[in-house]
């Protein structure tokens, strides 16, 4: 099946108004813009035969090679070939910041420097690649897919395939990790479903790792050009930052442009830093499309901010933490509106900052003692502070969906509950978190609550797993639905107890009359049986049934920027401080992370193990970005210089250190139960903390790292450079 065979399939919509349209087709026809773009699909009776056919097909392809555009410089040069000639340039997004007060502050600052910071290309890389099974039977399309947003997938499949949404079922069972990469609705899903409809039999495609590395989204790939004004005291007066993101070919739904907006929006994080002007440009190149990846722009922005702070500290001869301290947000400043419009609702920014310095200082001494006999090893500590935007609007990312989610609760006749939610389980613990929260909200035992998610036939329409939002929007909708069923249950119980509903309380799984301990109790099972089966026992006028549906969206969330481009795009903000203590071996340039600390605040914690797992796992991915993973391309040919796990260096157990966590709990004032998000938090800090630590360790060599990943080669080159200078 080639491009001609999908003529009857729709083109992906270009919903985002600030983005130029890419008109993505499920299979590419005339122009192929990156290695990994789907151009043909082969169906066979097994994968072995299909690969034989692909190999034979590839040998017959006639290809005219075009000159590729592989870098930001190439993409923005005047002579650049255009990926989309109708645009007139290679900029899919180009937003120019204009804050005269920031420029004035810059001009007035005693000192200035400019620098370019670079964060490399990565890929989310769930251990489970993508996979799709589609079956079209009796006029209904069923798609089992490894995806983070089952309903969004369904809407997109229905739209492109011309089906009624009710005739499409999407099931996402036990997704093997996503990390953002599986929020996108990919061409392969459409093609497999289309094939199943044409062939009249089930079709399966399991992405292999070689496909995954070029065909699933990449991410990051940003450079930030900053202009910083500061004074001799280390006070940073103002900063202009131009965020330039290489989003690859752009042919992905939803687009990969939003992370770069987040980078500028959250980079000042835990700091009171009003004088920031951000411009954002996203260029298209002949690389795999960039998309969502855990952290979603925050790690890049925070890396830049923290490197700027360290630079200023070095220039004025101060401890970097003394530059940070006057800027750190105070409780009294809450809520604090950042330059980009994000309103930090609450947090423990100063406490986490101070605590992590205590931990880092003690650890530094320990590690220095450990290596004091080895003159070839240098030890350093590095810090970072940041905020994590939680429960964001999806409108900036999709141009279509927004911020809500949904729950239905059905009390079963035996007194148990079926709780179905629109968020999704991708390994982050959402099922167990939902069960725990729902059981608590319904006054039931954990075992009495069945949780349903990831099936569009059974769960209410919701937006899935992304944006550090699941716990909040799940809780919001579950609590609302639980209140409805509890209200009715109390009426039923009151009738049985011959009391007023207002006097009925639910404790230990039984309804009793308030203030009568040891008195008559009615169990959930009795109430449920009356409510659903023995409706003859209901009070007159009360109808049967014990279920409820509710949706929830934080009311303050904004979906459109104001006229100055500011937007409160995330409903609540977790905060954290990290400290990394590293030992750098001057011989090999090897960086060993000896100790790593996260002092974290995600508001009310529901399930401590889930939170711990998210933070520690997130830190591991942050370390991967700081030191290991990269996706370079040959600038001449456009060929990826990575083909396997031999080149894409996912860290192993030997590279990831133990991570110690501590928690503050500043409840989110406007969120249900005070909950904030935690899914992306850990990933944000390591690039900044580790780079800062390495530069601390190698202060003698005047190392000022501006680019990740930081590798042994970086270290050795710096040592060589330093020798050359002396």
């Amino acid at each position: 099946m080639t491009a001609d065979d999908v003529d009857d399939v729709g083109t992906y919509p270009d919903y985002i108004v600030i983005n130029k349209p890419v008109n993505q087709r499920p299979l590419r026809g005339d122009v192929v813009r990156y290695v990994g773009a789907p151009i043909a699909a082969v169906a066979a009776t097994d994968r072995y035969a299909a690969e034989d056919a692909v190999e034979a097909l590839a040998a017959t392809l006639e290809i005219d090679e075009l000159s590729p555009v592989m870098t930001v410089e190439q993409a923005t040069s005047d002579e650049a070939p255009l990926l989309y000639p109708e645009w007139g340039d290679n900029k899919v997004v180009d937003l120019v910041g204009d804050r005269p007060e920031v420029r004035a502050a810059l001009d007035a600052a005693p000192h200035r420097f400019t620098e370019t910071y670079v964060v490399q290309r990565q890929t989310p890389l769930p251990m489970e690649t993508r996979g799709v099974v589609a079956e079209y039977r009796d006029g209904r399309l069923s798609v089992w897919v490894s995806h983070q947003s089952p309903h969004i997938a369904r809407t997109t499949y229905a739209m492109l395939l011309g089906l009624r949404e009710a005739d499409v079922r999407v099931v996402c069972p036990r997704v093997g990790g996503g990390f953002g990469g599986k929020t996108h609705v990919y061409s392969e899903e459409i093609v497999v479903a289309h094939l199943a409809m044409k062939l009249g039999r089930p079709v399966r495609w399991i992405e292999d790792r070689a496909e995954h590395l070029v065909a699933s989204v990449h991410a990051r790939d940003q450079r930030h050009v900053v202009d910083v004004g500061y004074d001799d005291e280390g006070h940073i007066h103002a900063m202009r930052c131009h965020v330039i993101c290489d989003v690859g070919s752009g042919e992905v739904f939803m687009a990969g442009t939003c992370p770069s907006l987040v980078s500028g929006g959250v980079m000042t994080g835990s700091y009171d830093f009003p004088n920031l002007e951000v411009s954002t440009t996203c260029v298209v190149t002949n690389k795999t499309p960039a998309g969502a990846y855990r952290g979603f722009g925050a790690p890049e922005g925070v890396f830049v901010m923290e490197r700027v702070i360290e630079r200023v500290a070095r220039l004025v001869g101060k401890d970097p933490n003394d530059v940070r301290a006057p800027m750190i947000l105070q409780q009294s400043q809450m809520p604090y509106t950042m330059p980009g419009g994000g309103r930090i609702d609450s947090g423990s920014h100063q406490q986490t900052f101070e605590r992590v310095i205590e931990l880092g200082t003690e650890a530094l001494q320990r590690v220095q003692a450990r290596f004091e006999d080895d003159p070839k090893v240098r030890v350093g500590v590095g810090y970072t502070n940041y905020v994590e935007p939680c429960v964001p609007t999806y409108f900036a990312t999709t141009g279509h969906w927004a911020g809500y989610d949904a729950a239905t609760i059905r009390i079963e006749p035996d007194g148990g509950a079926t709780v179905a939610v629109g968020v999704a389980e991708i390994g982050q613990g959402m099922v167990v978190t939902t069960r725990m929260l729902a059981a608590d909200a319904l006054g039931m035992n954990l075992d009495d609550v069945a949780v349903v998610m990831g099936d569009t036939d059974r769960a209410p329409y919701g937006l899935g797993a992304w944006g550090s939002r699941g716990a909040v929007v799940m809780a919001g909708s579950v609590v609302k639905a639980a209140e409805v069923v509890l209200d009715k249950a109390r009426v039923i119980a009151a009738h049985k107890l011959e009391a007023a509903a207002a006097d009925v309380v639910l404790e230990d799984g039984a309804f009793t009359v308030r203030g009568s301990p040891g008195g008559t109790a009615v169990t959930w099972a009795e109430v449920a049986t009356a409510g659903v089966i023995r409706t003859i026992e209901l009070p007159k006028g009360l109808e049967g049934g014990l279920d409820a549906a509710a949706t929830y969206e934080p009311y303050a969330l904004e979906h459109f920027p104001d006229e100055s481009g500011r937007i409160h795009a995330a409903a609540t903000w977790s905060n954290a401080a990290h400290a990394a203590v590293v030992a750098v071996d001057l011989r090999s340039g090897h960086i060993s992370i000896e100790e790593y600390f996260v002092v974290h605040d995600c508001g009310t914690i529901i399930h401590p193990n889930v939170v711990e797992g998210q933070i520690v796992g997130g830190v591991a991915q942050g370390i991967a970005g700081a030191m290991y993973e990269n996706l370079p391309y040959d600038p001449e040919t456009g060929q990826p210089q990575f083909a396997s796990f031999m080149e894409y260096l996912v860290p192993t157990m030997s590279e990831i250190p133990p991570v110690q966590t501590e928690h503050f709990e500043s409840p989110a004032p406007e969120m249900p139960l005070g909950i904030k998000g935690v899914g992306e938090a850990g990933t944000i800090g390591p690039p900044a903390a580790i780079t800062n630590a390495v530069c601390f360790a190698l202060a003698d060599y005047h190392l000022d790292i501006t680019e990740t990943p930081v590798t042994p080669m970086t270290i050795r080159a710096a040592i060589r450079g330093s020798k050359d200078r002396t």
């Binding site: 097994d46 994968r47 072995y48 890389l125 769930p126 251990m127 489970e128 690649t129 036990r174 997704v175 093997g176 990790g177 990390f179 399991i206 292999d208 790792r209 991708i426 390994g427 982050q428 613990g429 193990n609 711990e612 797992g613 520690v616 796992g617 997130g618 830190v619 591991a620 991915q621 396997s644 796990f645 031999m646 996912v650 192993t652 157990m653 030997s654 990831i656 133990p658 991570v659 850990g682």
Partner: protein, 164 residues
């Protein structure tokens, strides 16, 4: 084996034990053991994460030692004794000690890599191994979710070297 068929249609008879049951099949020479287990026997607990021997998700025991099923041809497993994740728990569903340790320490999130870790530990972990030895042993298994910490904790407990 007969010599009058083309290589494409060649099937090689194999007979092996998988989780204690004897299995016989005629397989194409190129069939990977991972695919034989998953597709041929329906034992989909063995996951396939890279098919070039780096991620370790497909680890099974071949004659008692841990090995990559994606780098082993099914024909090479003829006469072998294979244990997959499905063979780890007791027949009544009681978790093995390795599995129980993972449950106790929250050593899995998405679970995709878990079977490979469990099989590596089941085949190769020795009592008294230190934490650095354990880390080296399990570096042939990639996990993207946990940051490994909870897996190390489970393995250290299993090796009996947990610090007080």
């Amino acid at each position: 084996m007969t010599s009058d068929t083309t290589a494409e249609n060649r099937r090689v008879p194999i007979r092996l034990r998988v989780n204690g049951s004897t299995e016989s099949a005629a397989v194409p020479p190129r069939l990977l053991l991972s695919d034989f287990l998953r597709e041929g026997l329906g034992l989909t607990g063995t996951h396939v994460g890279c098919e070039h021997g780096v991620c370790g998700a497909c680890t099974v025991l071949i004659d008692g030692t841990a090995a990559r099923s994606c780098l082993t041809l099914a024909v090479q497993a003829d006469e072998a004794d294979i244990t997959t994740i499905e063979g780890l728990a007791e027949p009544d569903g009681t978790l093995s000690t390795v599995q129980q340790a993972f449950a106790d320490h929250f050593s899995l999130q998405c679970g995709f890599c878990t079977a490979g870790f469990l099989m590596s530990i089941a085949g190769e972990l020795e009592q008294g191994m230190t934490e650095p030895e354990i880390r080296e042993l399990l570096s042939g298994n990639l996990c993207r979710c946990t940051g490994y910490q909870s897996i190390v904790e489970a393995a250290v407990e299993l090796a009996g070297t947990r610090e007080a």
